[in-house]
Symmetry: C2
Subunit: 108 residues, 2 copies
Amino acid sequence: MPRFWKPEEVAPRTLAQGVTAKIASGEKLMFSLVTLAPNAVVPTHSHPHEQMGMMVSGTMEFTIDGETRVLSGNEMYLVPGGIPHAAKAGPGGAVALDAFSPPREEYR
Amino acid sequence: MPRFWKPEEVAPRTLAQGVTAKIASGEKLMFSLVTLAPNAVVPTHSHPHEQMGMMVSGTMEFTIDGETRVLSGNEMYLVPGGIPHAAKAGPGGAVALDAFSPPREEYR
């Protein structure tokens, strides 16, 4: 199992139109460094895995269970397992780091 | 349990001399947004919790089980549970996001 990752050496995965992610994983944790093009949308979805995220750059509307916030800086969020959530990048796009526990097997 | 955190509204905890952290936590995940002053050191330690981290800004020497890398950009790292690790900020300091699973009870 690798212990160090350079994002420029990780192949991006496409999560949605204009949304790509670079994945790194341990046994209990998975990181997903997500890049959203301007105004790109992650439609409402849910998964049993707990998710926490932090903004890295840009701005993003993030909706958890119907509550929407506009996030910027290094703001952080928590999505409990099974709770519907969605995102929409601002006009300048966004980068966010998502963490999942347990890791999402479909992203390994 | 909060679902959103602004770092500027979270009280910093001191982890070591010149090293402070802002903590946010779920049930399975804990985030620790760590700020290291120039050349600040986190001495070698270990904990049973799995840890993954990502550089946010600056540079940092990070040592896992005797292997040292100089990290910058958004480089990521994995510390399996029980493995000794240490950090030393570069001359310009560093900010990194650490994630733990399970959460570290002593940081709640």
